[in-house]
Subunit: 294 residues, 2 copies
């Protein structure tokens, strides 16, 4: 699965990069008896200083069961994360609540500030969109360049639009919102996007663990339509033949880490990677990391 | 994920059916230090009667390491499976050698008769093809009915063509061969098929365990082309609107067990299941069972 150019990055390297973490450094994090994340072992002593909020059990590090409901858990967690942010353990603050639950469809057990979610290994759910064009020249894909002033991954290449699913938002509703805000794609066009699957990976990052799920949409854009940067997340859009996109993924780390997986999934679904490739199964299955991480 | 009709079969039921087995009843089966399958605990005493062929280790039930190479292992296994067939422990005999290896791309450690593979929980690799038509009426799919005289799953519904990948055959070569033999699709047409992913499941069946991998292809057939039964595996082909296929999968077990998963994967990739469906992630991820089964 290497390009003819012979350089050393390959599709599988991106799967590995998105799944790089040392499980021995983390303990499962449980709330109300359900595993919802993972906490770094060396953060545990600090967390136990917050009296009455956590307890270190045999099976998992857990929230104190006496914090009986959604509201009391969320309030206790907000106090903890505010302090941790002050101590410099959390970079940034997004004012975006993430749901904490054992699975996407499961009952939310509390909410947590987005920037603090990695410290507790909380799964984040996002939407990524492949914006492509099919014309007489074949298949092309719109690629965004992230703004130079973004705190995360500035200047890196990105999908046409993407965003985290905020607490209470639907998957499709997030797609419509991000397409509009980020890429100036009106709902009359973004509404034609098709959900085509989901990707799961887990890596260390942002001070903790990032077990992420990306819902993936394909959006065939009209040949006369050009996405435009909207909210400043993206500085420019470029339309590249799909072969150029594939080569860029295959032999560089120029795309933001998880966008590589979204492109690889697109290449697989559109028949652009041969099933006889020796890496084929590892690629297909590498996009779907098993849910229970520790 | 249930049809409006309200009957009790649903897409997830097919995922569950294809992954139903009791792991406590099996031990890993290893060859040359590599896990290649699983053996039922209650078959182990019988297998140990074959002097010098197997040994019951702490980590796994294993082939005797003194059987040093591919040929000697294959010969010893052939003697074992011939006896087991005589004893009625193996139904049928296909005269089709399966590779035994730790993974599809890995070095083959021995070969085993196809009908005997489930007794040792050997992963089988197959190709399944979605034959579809896209015209003014939308998307339709060709559905086959299996011959009434087939020993396995007679009269059940099936994909347009499918087959096991025999030892030494490539994935694409198997697709071309099966399309020709089973559905009378000439290479000029089957050659347009796109590989679009792979499905993995593991269930009890055929006297043992079936950890199967299906390489999936989409083949858009010309509107004026009609697949015809070739080798007698299929008795008739029917072209159904995709909604009818989806409903049939959703509320019946009329399709051969694993073909349901191939159709569900098609529905997901073609945007026909909403990402906001509460079962969405379970469906997407249920098509990719983790490789290490025990």
């Amino acid at each position: 699965m290497r390009c003819a150019c012979g350089v050393s990055v390959a599709y599988l390297d991106h799967i590995r990069a998105c799944n790089a973490f040392d499980p021995t450094q983390f303990r499962p994090f449980a709330v109300a008896g359900q595993t919802v994340g993972a906490v770094a072992r060396d953060l545990i002593p600090r967390l136990l200083d917050f009296k009455g909020v956590f307890e270190d059990g045999e099976r998992a590090f857990a929230m104190n069961p006496k914090l009986g409901g959604f509201d009391s858990r969320s309030k206790a967690m907000a106090a903890v994360t505010t302090d941790l942010q002050r101590e410099g353990r959390i970079k940034g603050w997004r004012n975006e609540p993430f749901r904490v639950s054992s699975d996407f469809g499961a009952e939310p057990l509390l909410q947590i500030e987005r920037a603090a979610a990695p410290l507790f290994g909380i799964t984040s759910y996002g939407v990524h969109v492949n914006g492509y064009v099919h014309d007489a020249n074949g298949l092309s894909m719109w690629v965004g360049r992230r703004s130079a002033t973004k705190p995360n991954y500035p200047n890196m290449l990105d999908n046409v639009c993407a965003g985290a699913i905020a607490f209470g938002m639907g998957v499709r509703a997030t797609l419509i919102k991000e397409a509009h805000e980020e890429a100036s794609i009106p709902e009359a066009i973004s509404g034609r996007a098709h959900p085509v699957g989901a990707i799961r990976y887990c890596c260390e990052g942002d001070g903790g663990l990032r077990p992420d799920v990306l819902f993936v949409y394909d959006l065939q854009l009209p040949t006369d339509f050009k996405p435009r940067p909207g909210d400043g997340e993206i500085s420019e859009y470029m339309l590249w033949p799909i072969g150029d996109v594939a080569r860029r993924v295959c032999h560089s780390f120029d795309f933001k880490f998880n966008c590589n997986l979204v492109v690889i999934d697109f290449l697989i679904r559109h028949g652009l990677i041969a099933a006889d490739d020796p890496d084929y199964l590892a690629l297909v299955e590498g996009l779907h990391r098993p849910r229970h991480i520790l």
